[in-house]
């Protein structure tokens, strides 16, 4: 009984800026579920919330930074990862989480994403992937499947999309997972693992966007997307991320794909630092 009360008092509400609610997200949007999973993951991973910093870029998912009662930074479009890089390198005790969308992280910010993964910097990236630019009215995104309808692909998308788990793992990420917002529990566990994991972690969160992407692709309600995720998701932990392509109305491979040990950027920097200081000492002796 006491334990139950304890759980109640540990509600995620204390991590939300109550004075900023209601939020701007549309009915049926998946960002709230992803945010809830993240906030519960802080407790699940028993991370000191004082040491958590949240960085977002621009877009619907970019608004997450504004709703969390944590040190939080709402930056420029595409630049959440390099801003977070400065935070991580400025204070190695921080647990920095980038929370943003597919357009922000993978289109305008794509270069920063692959370089952060290459560096294996201690950072968790939560990418809410809804295949389009929701905030600006549903234009095509870099992950939109071929043939998908958006407000700028009225004849169907004519560009092949990025497979995000494959991109992140090929770039060097230590931890890569994908879940849909239907998989709220698995998502929470994945975020907790990612936040504890040293090095670069990337989580692809497949999420509905009912008023624009959904409306144009036969999923006008959030629930329609949930049905789709339920029918088409295939959980395969350890799967080769190369196989995680998403086709229009096709299966969605989910699970934990990558969980490897690799020296992090801070591991390398500490070596650089001791080499530099040895050199100073050697010079002082001469």
């Amino acid at each position: 009984m006491t334990a139950n009360l304890n759980i109640e008092s540990q509600s995620i509400e204390r991590y939300l800026r109550q004075d900023r609610l209601p939020h701007i997200w549309c009915s049926g949007c998946g960002i709230g579920i992803a945010l809830g999973a993240f906030l519960r993951a802080i407790d699940r991973a028993t991370i000191d919330p004082d040491k958590v910093a949240v960085v977002s870029g621009i877009g619907c998912a970019g608004r997450v930074a504004g709703y969390v009662k944590l040190d939080s930074f709402h930056t420029t479009h595409g630049r959440a990862i390099p801003f977070a890089t400065g935070l991580v390198l400025g204070n190695s005790e921080l647990n920095v989480v980038v929370f943003s969308g597919d357009g922000d992280l993978v289109a305008i910010g794509g270069n920063h994403l692959i370089h952060a993964a290459r560096r294996n910097i201690d950072l968790t990236v939560i990418c809410v992937n809804n295949f389009n630019y929701g905030m600006t009215g549903g234009q095509v995104g870099p992950t939109a499947p071929l043939e998908a309808r958006t407000t700028t692909t009225p004849y169907g998308n004519f560009e092949p999309p990025f497979n995000l788990p494959y991109l992140a793992s090929a770039s060097g990420a230590s931890y890569v997972a994908r879940w849909t917002v239907l998989h709220a529990r698995e998502l929470e566990r994945a975020i907790a693992e990612a936040m504890i994991k040293p090095g670069f972690s990337f989580i692809d969160v497949i999420s509905p966007c009912p008023p624009v992407y959904g409306r144009m692709n036969k999923e006008p309600k959030g629930l329609d997307s949930m049905h789709y995720y339920q029918e088409k998701s295939i959980i395969r932990n350890g799967a080769d991320p190369k196989e995680a392509d998403i086709e229009l109305n096709g299966p969605i491979l989910v699970g934990k794909f990558v969980d490897i040990e690799r020296p992090t950027l801070w591991d390398h920097l500490r070596q650089v630092s001791s080499k530099a200081q040895e050199k100073v000492k050697a010079q002082a002796k001469v």
Binding site: H74, P82, T85, N111, H115, L269
Partner: protein
């Protein structure tokens, strides 16, 4: 040592412990020096994937509580403008060094220019005021880099060091005194606890105290127009209040920020107004003019932004003419002209870049004005 190295040493002396940059001629030597010095000093050097990322990493490091800097030149400066604006909006102390080369575009990568002076002032979108300093020698860039850090911390604003290729690459003697802790300024810190603290409630000098990440303040900052809590507010009233304060915190404190030097200005009726490397050539030209009996003087702008407008106005009642040599086709001259009004003539001596003026060119302009 050369100006680029002196700049890096000035930064280390100022307490800079983070540098993020991207290689670019003629500023790369600053990055190279920082990559040696920062790990020795317990700091972090990182080469980012581009200048967009470099500027952002500098902002992030500053919010982690570290004095941070980047250095670049023309093309990189253009890319940094995006997040220079974020730095202004979040009121983030940091230093951005521009070793100017001649543009536009790729221009003359290895050769001098002063064509980014107006970009420095207006290159990021929106209304704001900035601080920019212009060094004339390796010694000067050492000293002004320290001043840049102090001003950026005091006023919570990214400060620009607008140098140029000649200053960056010339080698001269540099004296590096041990900088005492009391000579270094740190950002104002919150005195209230996390419940009462408001991230953008300003002190009397219009600068708000700054919390840093990881201290338990759980603050929010955004590039959106925001109120004193740091929360986005999408109204004309909030915009008015915020933008006025961002501008006024520099304008109201201008007497502390604006610095200049004068040579033989007391009795001068022809005043050469110059900044950066052009000061040194102008000084020679003024001396030559004096030898010819012309009452010429030199005003050196150390702080180029905010512009020394009251002082130029004052001098315009004494001077017949201002001569403005610039390695561009007329940028700061517009400011001089605006402040001089019709009280004194303003004459531009332009140079398109690739080399500095010859003293004769400036002397001829002085002679012509004296007639």
């Amino acid at each position: 040592m050369n100006g680029d190295l002196a700049c890096a040493e000035g930064a280390i002396s100022a307490g800079c412990r983070f540098f993020a940059g991207y290689p670019i001629t003629p500023a790369s030597e600053i990055a190279e020096r920082m990559s040696i010095r920062l790990p020795q000093a317990g700091g972090v050097y990182i080469q980012m994937e581009d200048e967009l990322a470099s500027m952002n990493a500098v902002l992030g490091a500053s919010w982690a509580g570290v004095k941070a800097m980047t250095a670049t030149s023309g093309p990189g400066f253009s890319l940094m403008m995006e997040n220079f604006g974020l730095g202004l909006m979040l009121e983030t102390p940091c230093v951005l060094v521009n070793i100017q080369r001649a543009g536009p575009s790729t221009g003359l990568p290895t050769m001098v220019g002063q064509g980014d002076m107006m970009q420095a002032r207006w290159g990021s979108h929106g209304s704001y005021e900035i601080i920019a300093l212009a060094p004339i020698s390796p010694q000067d860039i050492f000293d002004l880099t320290i001043l840049a850090f102090n001003l950026s911390e005091k006023y919570r604003v990214p400060v620009l060091v607008m140098s140029d290729e000649v200053v960056g690459h010339m080698s001269e003697k540099v004296t590096m005194p041990r900088v005492a802790p009391e000579d270094l300024i740190d950002r104002p810190r919150p005195e209230l606890g996390s419940e009462e603290y408001l991230p953008y409630k300003p002190n009397a000098n219009l600068v708000p105290p700054m919390a840093i990440a990881g201290e338990g303040y759980h603050f929010h900052v955004t590039g959106l127009t925001h109120d004193e809590r740091g929360y986005p507010v999408m109204t004309a009233e909030a915009q008015d209040k915020l933008v006025r304060r961002l501008v006024d915190k520099i304008r109201f404190n201008r007497h502390d920020i604006i610095k200049y030097n004068e040579f033989q200005v007391e009795d001068a009726d022809i005043i050469v107004c110059a900044y950066g490397i052009s000061v040194r050539i102008a000084q020679l030209a003024v001396r030559m003019a004096r030898d010819e009996g012309i009452r010429a003087g030199l005003l050196q702008l150390i702080t180029v932004w905010p512009f020394a407008e009251e002082h130029i106005r004052e001098l315009s009642s004494q001077a017949k003419a201002f001569i403005v040599p610039e390695i561009n086709y007329g940028q700061m001259v517009l400011e001089v002209e605006r402040c001089a009004g019709d009280r004194a003539k303003t004459i531009l001596v332009p140079h398109m870049g690739g080399s500095v003026h010859s003293p004769q060119t400036i002397l001829e302009a002085i002679r012509e004005a004296a007639q």
